[in-house]
Symmetry: C2
Subunit: 149 residues, 2 copies
DNA sequence: TGCTCTATGTCAGGACTTTGACATAGCAGA
DNA sequence: TCTGCTATGTCAAAGTCCTGACATAGAGCA
């Protein structure tokens, strides 16, 4: 029994299974990214930058659900490896728009196929309708939790 | 824009929305448990012990998706606060079966209603069918990811 | 113009979690 | 019997992430 199964009532709690799924996905992503010498936050940063070039540190942090400080060290690491570039001076306000380098784009492409393979595996036993329903249900949950009261 | 919305294609990725939902739930739970001076892992430990008295450290760790070491410090904290009890000597093997004290049970009850309120809020805008589908879909995802290949 | 408020980037410190390692207890098979 | 093998509890070290704080840049308003 590698991962708990016969726990009982907790398995009926949406929150518990949600956590379980998130951890399983995280572990799978971590294993898939390790050969590429990328951590999950680093990959998330690259993926976001690939889809939205020029994002600032704070925007990347919000998009990957970490703090600005954490994203800052991630960006420094990626910058030292030559995967992303930031201007030395802020063109507007204090935001430093970050863009992928060619090496960063290459890394992103290989990592992206690996992650897409993981997602395919995760949702492989779901019908398209189930997958659509899952996506919508999760989005609804996020929206419901965001309501302040 | 407190949390990213207009991100685009990433919102269509199941993994991304899954992470988003998990973080939102985690934050909501953390806020709800703070008045009770409980962290999420501590609550998870109490909840698991409430449903399965006598669980060992390693079993609790697996049930809450952390390492044995982390669960060990959690248990020490709960033990120092008098919420759980462990025998000084192992009745079988090296396992130390942990049980809730009366104070631990009281804490669990109040915390449990708070967390149930969070879950209710999270799933409030979902139909019972949607909720059932979400639970099943997540369980299927976990099972699919657990397959070794 | 000047003031306040918000947002950004960054530094230092601390809290939490994980990785690595070790000794020990039970189990299965030669 | 005894010899791997697995599992458990625990210690030490490292890593990761967050909280708190500060200076700065732009927006809104008197």
């Amino acid at each position: 029994m590698s991962q708990g199964e016969m726990l009982g009532p907790v398995d009926d709690a949406v929150g518990y299974v949600l956590k379980q799924a998130a951890v399983a996905l995280r572990n799978a992503m971590d294993a898939a990214l390790r050969p590429l010498h990328l951590t999950v936050p680093q990959y998330a940063c690259l993926e976001l930058l690939g889809q939205h070039p020029g994002l600032s540190n704070a925007e990347l942090a919000r998009g990957t659900f970490v703090t600005r400080q954490s994203m800052n060290v991630v960006l420094r690491g990626l910058e030292d490896r030559g995967l992303v570039t930031r201007p030395v001076t802020a063109p507007r306000g204090r935001e430093l728009p970050t863009v992928l380098t060619q090496a960063g784009l290459d890394h992103l492409r290989t990592a992206s196929v690996a992650i897409r393979r993981i997602e395919k595996k995760m949702c492989g036993d779901l019908t398209p309708a189930q997958q659509k329903g899952l996506l919508e249900a999760l989005a609804t949950c996020v929206r419901s939790l965001a309501d302040t009261p």
